[in-house]
Protein backbone atom coordinates (compact mmCIF):
# COMPACT_ATOMS: atom_id res chain seq x y z
CA UNK A 1 0.00 0.00 0.00
CA UNK A 2 1.29 3.44 -0.85
CA UNK A 3 1.14 6.20 1.75
CA UNK A 4 -1.70 7.81 -0.11
CA UNK A 5 -3.84 4.65 -0.03
CA UNK A 6 -3.29 4.37 3.70
CA UNK A 7 -4.59 7.88 4.36
CA UNK A 8 -8.31 8.43 4.79
CA UNK A 9 -9.71 9.56 1.39
CA UNK A 10 -11.39 12.57 3.00
CA UNK A 11 -8.08 13.61 4.55
CA UNK A 12 -6.58 13.59 1.05
CA UNK A 13 -9.60 15.52 -0.27
CA UNK A 14 -9.05 18.15 2.43
CA UNK A 15 -5.35 18.48 1.62
CA UNK A 16 -6.24 18.93 -2.06
CA UNK A 17 -8.93 21.50 -1.26
CA UNK A 18 -6.34 23.51 0.68
CA UNK A 19 -4.12 23.81 -2.41
CA UNK A 20 -5.43 27.11 -3.82
CA UNK A 21 -5.46 28.83 -0.41
CA UNK A 22 -1.87 27.80 0.23
CA UNK A 23 -0.78 30.10 -2.60
CA UNK A 24 -2.28 33.03 -0.69
CA UNK A 25 -0.84 31.91 2.66
CA UNK A 26 2.79 31.68 1.55
CA UNK A 27 3.46 35.43 1.00
CA UNK A 28 1.45 36.20 4.16
CA UNK A 29 3.64 33.80 6.19
CA UNK A 30 6.86 35.12 4.63
CA UNK A 31 5.87 38.70 5.45
CA UNK A 32 5.09 37.67 9.03
CA UNK A 33 8.55 36.13 9.44
CA UNK A 34 10.37 39.01 7.74
CA UNK A 35 8.59 41.78 9.65
CA UNK A 36 9.01 39.96 12.97
CA UNK A 37 12.78 40.12 12.51
CA UNK A 38 12.53 43.74 11.29
CA UNK A 39 10.64 44.68 14.45
CA UNK A 40 13.40 43.20 16.61
CA UNK A 41 12.10 39.71 17.43
CA UNK A 42 14.50 36.77 17.32
CA UNK A 43 13.93 33.85 14.91
CA UNK A 44 12.86 31.72 17.90
CA UNK A 45 10.30 34.34 18.95
CA UNK A 46 8.96 34.69 15.41
CA UNK A 47 8.55 30.93 15.04
CA UNK A 48 7.28 30.51 18.61
CA UNK A 49 4.59 33.08 17.92
CA UNK A 50 3.49 31.23 14.78
CA UNK A 51 3.27 27.91 16.63
CA UNK A 52 1.59 29.26 19.78
CA UNK A 53 -0.74 31.87 18.27
CA UNK A 54 -1.22 30.51 14.71
CA UNK A 55 -3.43 33.41 13.54
CA UNK A 56 -1.84 35.61 10.87
CA UNK A 57 -3.57 38.98 11.16
CA UNK A 58 -3.23 39.04 14.95
CA UNK A 59 0.44 38.04 14.73
CA UNK A 60 1.16 40.87 12.29
CA UNK A 61 -0.70 43.34 14.48
CA UNK A 62 1.27 42.21 17.55
CA UNK A 63 4.57 42.44 15.64
CA UNK A 64 3.67 45.91 14.35
CA UNK A 65 2.77 47.16 17.83
CA UNK A 66 5.78 45.56 19.56
CA UNK A 67 7.96 47.22 16.89
CA UNK A 68 6.49 50.61 17.77
CA UNK A 69 6.94 49.97 21.51
CA UNK A 70 3.25 49.86 22.38
CA UNK A 71 2.33 48.75 25.89
CA UNK A 72 1.81 45.07 26.76
CA UNK A 73 -1.92 45.47 27.26
CA UNK A 74 -2.39 47.15 23.87
CA UNK A 75 -0.39 44.45 22.06
CA UNK A 76 -2.22 41.53 23.66
CA UNK A 77 -5.59 43.29 23.61
CA UNK A 78 -5.42 44.22 19.92
CA UNK A 79 -4.31 40.74 18.87
CA UNK A 80 -7.08 39.12 20.89
CA UNK A 81 -9.75 41.49 19.57
CA UNK A 82 -8.69 40.63 16.01
CA UNK A 83 -9.21 36.95 16.84
CA UNK A 84 -12.57 37.41 18.52
CA UNK A 85 -14.25 36.71 15.17
CA UNK A 86 -13.24 33.07 15.62
CA UNK A 87 -15.87 32.71 18.33
CA UNK A 88 -18.39 32.69 15.47
CA UNK A 89 -16.49 29.92 13.68
CA UNK A 90 -16.26 27.91 16.88
CA UNK A 91 -20.02 28.18 17.40
CA UNK A 92 -20.80 27.40 13.77
CA UNK A 93 -18.58 24.32 13.42
CA UNK A 94 -19.23 22.93 16.94
CA UNK A 95 -22.24 20.74 16.01
CA UNK A 96 -20.17 18.88 13.39
CA UNK A 97 -17.46 18.04 15.94
CA UNK A 98 -19.82 16.96 18.70
CA UNK A 99 -19.37 13.18 18.15
CA UNK A 100 -15.63 13.35 18.78
CA UNK A 101 -13.77 13.11 22.10
CA UNK A 102 -12.78 16.23 24.00
CA UNK A 103 -9.11 15.59 23.19
CA UNK A 104 -9.83 15.47 19.45
CA UNK A 105 -12.02 18.58 19.68
CA UNK A 106 -9.26 20.33 21.62
CA UNK A 107 -6.80 19.65 18.81
CA UNK A 108 -9.32 20.64 16.14
CA UNK A 109 -9.85 23.97 17.95
CA UNK A 110 -6.09 24.69 17.91
CA UNK A 111 -5.97 24.64 14.09
CA UNK A 112 -9.24 26.55 13.57
CA UNK A 113 -8.70 29.35 11.04
CA UNK A 114 -10.87 31.50 8.74
CA UNK A 115 -10.10 29.30 5.75
CA UNK A 116 -10.39 25.88 7.44
CA UNK A 117 -13.71 26.93 8.95
CA UNK A 118 -15.21 28.43 5.80
CA UNK A 119 -14.19 25.60 3.47
CA UNK A 120 -15.17 22.78 5.83
CA UNK A 121 -18.62 24.11 6.66
CA UNK A 122 -19.30 24.85 2.98
CA UNK A 123 -18.37 21.23 2.20
CA UNK A 124 -20.43 19.74 5.09
CA UNK A 125 -23.48 21.64 3.90
CA UNK A 126 -23.26 20.32 0.33
CA UNK A 127 -21.74 16.86 0.90
CA UNK A 128 -23.20 14.75 3.67
CA UNK A 129 -20.82 11.87 2.98
CA UNK A 130 -17.64 13.73 3.90
CA UNK A 131 -15.97 12.63 7.10
CA UNK A 132 -16.32 15.70 9.38
CA UNK A 133 -12.99 15.41 11.09
CA UNK A 134 -10.71 14.05 8.35
CA UNK A 135 -11.74 16.61 5.77
CA UNK A 136 -11.27 19.46 8.25
CA UNK A 137 -7.90 18.13 9.40
CA UNK A 138 -6.78 17.81 5.77
CA UNK A 139 -7.32 21.54 5.24
CA UNK A 140 -6.36 22.82 8.69
CA UNK A 141 -3.18 20.75 9.08
CA UNK A 142 -1.99 21.67 5.59
CA UNK A 143 -2.41 25.37 6.40
CA UNK A 144 -0.62 24.86 9.71
CA UNK A 145 2.40 23.24 8.07
CA UNK A 146 2.62 25.88 5.32
CA UNK A 147 2.25 28.70 7.85
CA UNK A 148 5.07 27.36 10.04
CA UNK A 149 7.46 26.75 7.14
CA UNK A 150 6.65 30.16 5.63
CA UNK A 151 7.33 31.96 8.91
CA UNK A 152 10.65 30.17 9.44
CA UNK A 153 11.79 30.97 5.88
CA UNK A 154 10.64 34.59 6.25
CA UNK A 155 12.40 34.98 9.62
CA UNK A 156 15.67 33.56 8.27
CA UNK A 157 15.44 35.74 5.14
CA UNK A 158 14.41 38.74 7.25
CA UNK A 159 17.87 39.15 8.69
CA UNK A 160 19.42 39.66 5.23
CA UNK A 161 16.88 42.00 3.59
CA UNK A 162 18.12 45.62 3.29
CA UNK A 163 15.89 48.23 4.97
CA UNK A 164 15.88 50.45 1.85
CA UNK A 165 13.62 47.94 0.05
CA UNK A 166 10.88 48.97 2.45
CA UNK A 167 9.68 45.38 2.95
CA UNK A 168 7.96 46.48 6.16
CA UNK A 169 5.39 48.00 3.78
CA UNK A 170 4.23 44.45 2.97
CA UNK A 171 2.58 44.45 6.40
CA UNK A 172 -0.01 47.18 5.69
CA UNK A 173 -0.48 45.57 2.26
CA UNK A 174 -1.56 42.32 3.91
CA UNK A 175 -3.91 44.28 6.15
CA UNK A 176 -5.35 46.05 3.08
CA UNK A 177 -5.98 42.67 1.42
CA UNK A 178 -7.88 41.55 4.56
CA UNK A 179 -9.62 44.90 5.14
CA UNK A 180 -11.19 45.38 1.71
CA UNK A 181 -13.31 42.18 1.75
CA UNK A 182 -14.21 42.86 5.43
CA UNK A 183 -15.94 46.08 4.29
CA UNK A 184 -18.81 44.21 2.65
CA UNK A 185 -21.85 46.40 3.38
CA UNK A 186 -22.81 49.90 4.58
CA UNK A 187 -22.30 49.14 8.28
CA UNK A 188 -18.91 47.43 8.01
CA UNK A 189 -17.68 50.00 5.45
CA UNK A 190 -18.62 52.81 7.82
CA UNK A 191 -16.83 51.01 10.66
CA UNK A 192 -13.67 50.77 8.53
CA UNK A 193 -13.69 54.30 7.13
CA UNK A 194 -14.46 55.96 10.46
CA UNK A 195 -11.91 53.84 12.34
CA UNK A 196 -9.25 54.77 9.76
CA UNK A 197 -9.94 58.49 10.02
CA UNK A 198 -10.21 58.25 13.79
CA UNK A 199 -6.83 56.49 13.95
CA UNK A 200 -5.19 59.50 12.26
CA UNK A 201 -7.11 61.95 14.42
CA UNK A 202 -6.39 60.20 17.69
CA UNK A 203 -2.71 59.73 16.78
CA UNK A 204 -2.31 63.46 16.08
CA UNK A 205 -3.79 64.29 19.49
CA UNK A 206 -1.17 62.02 21.07
CA UNK A 207 -2.68 59.30 23.25
CA UNK A 208 -0.24 57.64 25.67
CA UNK A 209 0.77 53.94 25.44
CA UNK A 210 -0.55 53.55 21.87
CA UNK A 211 -4.12 53.44 23.04
CA UNK A 212 -4.97 55.25 19.78
CA UNK A 213 -5.63 51.92 18.06
CA UNK A 214 -8.26 50.52 20.45
CA UNK A 215 -9.89 53.97 20.75
CA UNK A 216 -10.11 54.33 16.94
CA UNK A 217 -11.43 50.78 16.58
CA UNK A 218 -14.18 51.35 19.17
CA UNK A 219 -15.20 54.62 17.45
CA UNK A 220 -15.38 52.70 14.15
CA UNK A 221 -17.43 49.83 15.61
CA UNK A 222 -19.90 52.25 17.24
CA UNK A 223 -20.26 54.14 13.94
CA UNK A 224 -21.04 50.90 12.11
CA UNK A 225 -23.64 49.93 14.72
CA UNK A 226 -25.16 53.43 14.50
CA UNK A 227 -25.36 53.43 10.70
CA UNK A 228 -27.07 50.03 10.59
CA UNK A 229 -29.47 51.03 13.38
CA UNK A 230 -30.33 54.22 11.49
CA UNK A 231 -30.83 52.38 8.18
CA UNK A 232 -33.16 49.89 9.82
CA UNK A 233 -35.42 52.51 11.38
Amino acid sequence: MTLRERLHPDLVAGIRAAGPIVIGIIPFALVTGITAIGAGLTVAEAVGMSVIVFAGASQLAAIDLIGSNASFIVVVGTAVVINIRMIMYSASIAPYFQPFSLRIRGLAAYVLTDQAYAMSVAEYETNDQRHRLWYYVGIAATLWVVWQIGTVVGAVLGASVPDSLGLDFALPLVFIALLVPAMKDAGTTTAGVVAGIAALGVASVGVPLNFDLPIAAVIGILSGVAVDAWRNV
Partner: protein, 115 residues
Protein backbone atom coordinates in the same frame (compact mmCIF):
# COMPACT_ATOMS: atom_id res chain seq x y z
CA UNK B 1 13.58 48.10 16.50
CA UNK B 2 11.65 47.35 19.62
CA UNK B 3 12.79 48.18 23.14
CA UNK B 4 10.79 45.26 24.52
CA UNK B 5 12.67 42.65 26.55
CA UNK B 6 12.70 39.06 25.32
CA UNK B 7 10.78 38.02 28.44
CA UNK B 8 8.13 40.60 27.59
CA UNK B 9 7.81 39.32 24.03
CA UNK B 10 7.39 35.72 25.21
CA UNK B 11 4.82 36.85 27.78
CA UNK B 12 2.84 38.61 25.05
CA UNK B 13 3.04 35.54 22.79
CA UNK B 14 1.77 33.36 25.67
CA UNK B 15 -1.02 35.82 26.50
CA UNK B 16 -2.22 36.10 22.91
CA UNK B 17 -1.88 32.33 22.41
CA UNK B 18 -3.87 31.38 25.50
CA UNK B 19 -6.68 33.88 24.80
CA UNK B 20 -6.85 32.91 21.13
CA UNK B 21 -7.03 29.22 22.00
CA UNK B 22 -9.81 29.93 24.50
CA UNK B 23 -11.75 31.76 21.75
CA UNK B 24 -11.27 28.89 19.29
CA UNK B 25 -12.24 26.23 21.81
CA UNK B 26 -15.19 28.15 23.32
CA UNK B 27 -18.21 26.74 21.52
CA UNK B 28 -16.50 23.58 20.30
CA UNK B 29 -16.14 22.80 24.01
CA UNK B 30 -19.44 24.26 25.27
CA UNK B 31 -21.69 22.85 22.54
CA UNK B 32 -24.69 21.20 24.16
CA UNK B 33 -24.75 23.73 27.00
CA UNK B 34 -24.69 26.92 24.93
CA UNK B 35 -25.33 26.38 21.23
CA UNK B 36 -24.81 29.78 19.64
CA UNK B 37 -23.48 33.28 20.07
CA UNK B 38 -26.12 35.63 21.53
CA UNK B 39 -27.54 37.86 18.73
CA UNK B 40 -26.47 41.11 20.42
CA UNK B 41 -22.82 40.04 20.63
CA UNK B 42 -22.97 38.63 17.10
CA UNK B 43 -24.25 42.00 15.90
CA UNK B 44 -21.30 43.95 17.36
CA UNK B 45 -18.72 41.34 16.29
CA UNK B 46 -19.63 41.97 12.64
CA UNK B 47 -17.87 45.34 12.70
CA UNK B 48 -14.70 44.28 14.52
CA UNK B 49 -12.50 43.12 11.61
CA UNK B 50 -13.14 46.20 9.43
CA UNK B 51 -12.62 48.65 12.30
CA UNK B 52 -9.48 47.06 13.76
CA UNK B 53 -7.82 46.47 10.38
CA UNK B 54 -8.56 50.02 9.21
CA UNK B 55 -7.17 51.45 12.45
CA UNK B 56 -3.98 49.46 11.79
CA UNK B 57 -3.68 50.24 8.07
CA UNK B 58 -4.38 53.95 7.85
CA UNK B 59 -1.64 55.25 10.21
CA UNK B 60 0.96 52.99 8.55
CA UNK B 61 0.08 54.24 5.05
CA UNK B 62 -0.82 57.90 5.69
CA UNK B 63 1.80 60.28 7.10
CA UNK B 64 0.27 63.66 7.85
CA UNK B 65 2.55 66.41 6.45
CA UNK B 66 2.31 70.18 6.86
CA UNK B 67 0.54 70.63 3.49
CA UNK B 68 -2.20 68.61 1.78
CA UNK B 69 -0.02 68.21 -1.33
CA UNK B 70 2.90 66.70 0.59
CA UNK B 71 0.52 64.38 2.46
CA UNK B 72 -1.10 63.09 -0.74
CA UNK B 73 2.16 62.69 -2.70
CA UNK B 74 3.72 60.32 -0.16
CA UNK B 75 5.05 57.14 -1.80
CA UNK B 76 3.36 54.86 0.76
CA UNK B 77 -0.03 56.51 0.29
CA UNK B 78 0.12 56.23 -3.51
CA UNK B 79 1.30 52.60 -3.41
CA UNK B 80 -1.29 51.83 -0.71
CA UNK B 81 -4.08 53.33 -2.82
CA UNK B 82 -3.03 51.26 -5.84
CA UNK B 83 -2.91 48.14 -3.63
CA UNK B 84 -6.40 48.91 -2.30
CA UNK B 85 -7.74 48.99 -5.87
CA UNK B 86 -6.05 45.65 -6.58
CA UNK B 87 -7.47 44.12 -3.39
CA UNK B 88 -10.92 45.37 -4.32
CA UNK B 89 -10.82 44.11 -7.93
CA UNK B 90 -9.03 40.77 -7.38
CA UNK B 91 -9.71 39.93 -3.73
CA UNK B 92 -6.28 38.27 -3.80
CA UNK B 93 -3.69 38.73 -1.07
CA UNK B 94 -0.80 37.69 -3.33
CA UNK B 95 -1.55 40.20 -6.12
CA UNK B 96 -2.13 42.91 -3.53
CA UNK B 97 1.34 42.41 -2.02
CA UNK B 98 3.11 42.11 -5.40
CA UNK B 99 1.46 45.15 -6.99
CA UNK B 100 1.72 47.27 -3.82
CA UNK B 101 5.43 46.53 -3.31
CA UNK B 102 6.17 47.05 -7.02
CA UNK B 103 4.36 50.39 -6.96
CA UNK B 104 6.39 51.48 -3.91
CA UNK B 105 9.67 50.50 -5.58
CA UNK B 106 8.79 52.21 -8.87
CA UNK B 107 7.92 55.46 -7.04
CA UNK B 108 10.94 55.24 -4.75
CA UNK B 109 13.66 54.02 -7.11
CA UNK B 110 12.18 54.70 -10.59
CA UNK B 111 13.15 58.40 -10.87
CA UNK B 112 16.82 57.75 -10.01
CA UNK B 113 17.00 54.92 -12.57
CA UNK B 114 15.66 57.19 -15.33
CA UNK B 115 17.58 60.32 -14.33
Amino acid sequence: MTEWSHGGIWAAIAGIGICTYAIRLSFIYLFGRIDSVPPRIRHVLRYVPAAVLAALVVPSVVTVQPTVGETLLDDRLIAGTIATLVAWRTGDIFYTIVVGMSALWVIRFGPSLIG
